[in-house]
Amino acid sequence: MNKSLREKLESTFKDIRVTVLEENRIAVTAESHGVLAVLRFLKDAGFDHLALLSAVDWIEDNCFELCFILTCYMQSDDEVTGRQRLHIILKTKIPRGKPQFETITRIFPNAEPYEREIYELFGIKFEGHKRLTPLFLERNYDIPPFRKDFDTRKYVEEVFDKIPFVESKDK
């Protein structure tokens, strides 16, 4: 199962690298301009469930890495085919100085909250997204909080520790 999918992928796309991590897990690394084509190909091949979309901050290599995890929906409770046990992790790197990407909501509509979350926490802008409004946080941060150069202790001292206690601690 893995072999035939691997050959199909490598034959269809040029600059793509497929590694088999474990028995049921494949990692596919692609360039950032070709990701949408790979996603559409995989969705047509049957992997129509986007399980997760998340980002990693590689601050030494000066890039962000977006990870898409795709699986197959189970059709019945009794038997699980080999294809349905497979997880595909699609990775791509984007430069840290210009963090933007194209939205994948046209292919997978359920990626909308994931992209909002990544925009809020990492600062990666997704072009074409209908509403990139805040999902969890309600304050403005000058550096998005999940980046590695965001100093949490300094932020806490600036915002939370400055607020004084109301009365003395000994009651």
Partner: protein
């Protein structure tokens, strides 16, 4: 046993009734709420202490702030606390309201809940066991007896400081002040 002492009831019925009928509002503030359903169901029965959960803050007496408090939750907590009728008691549950707990350097949680609403007692632990809740309830009874559980009176007395702290953190608040805050020019804050 304490309950059958009729003289205590006759001397101070308000204190005795406030002790033995604590209605806790069932507001799931944070992750610590996972320890409350075992307390109110059959295994560790909280109803024999008089503690029963109610659904609305207007009927409640006791506010158990379980777990960490994020900035969004603090708005809801302050509104709920101000809707409760007096006398009311708050208990901070878990180590996160005490000093931030596990999230001591987080960008979005409150480190000391004492700065924003008054707290009568704390329960340490992450999460505290149900037996710790019962020890806290009996401890709260002793505090009510000695009239030291007066968080709501401190809130009324120092309302200006509490409101100033809330506004420093949350920006402009949508609800009007609960007690009258005198109009001073903004430059007079110390």
């Amino acid at each position: 046993m304490d309950r059958n002492q009729i003289t205590k009831w006759l001397k101070a019925p308000a204190k005795m009734a406030n002790k033995y009928s604590l209605h806790a509002i069932y507001f799931c503030t944070g992750c610590g709420i996972i320890e409350v359903p075992p307390v109110i169901t059959a295994r560790w029965d909280a109803e024999r202490f008089g503690v029963i959960p109610v659904a609305t803050p207007r009927q409640a007496n006791l506010f158990l702030i379980t777990g960490y408090v994020s900035v969004k939750t603090l708005r809801a907590i302050i509104r709920t606390y101000e809707q409760m009728p007096e006398p009311k008691y708050t208990v901070g549950f878990g180590s996160c309201p005490i000093n931030g707990g596990m999230y001591w350097d987080s960008y979005n949680t409150i480190k000391h809940l004492d700065k924003y609403i008054p707290i009568d007692g704390w329960i340490a632990g992450c999460m505290p066991r149900p037996e710790a809740i019962f020890i806290a309830v009996t401890h709260l009874w002793t505090l009510i007896d000695k009239e030291m559980a007066n968080g709501y009176m401190r809130y009324k007395k120092n309302y200006k400081s509490y409101r100033r702290n809330q506004e420093m953190l949350l920006g402009k608040l949508e609800w009007p002040p609960l007690y009258p805050v005198s109009d001073e020019p903004r430059g007079n804050e110390q």
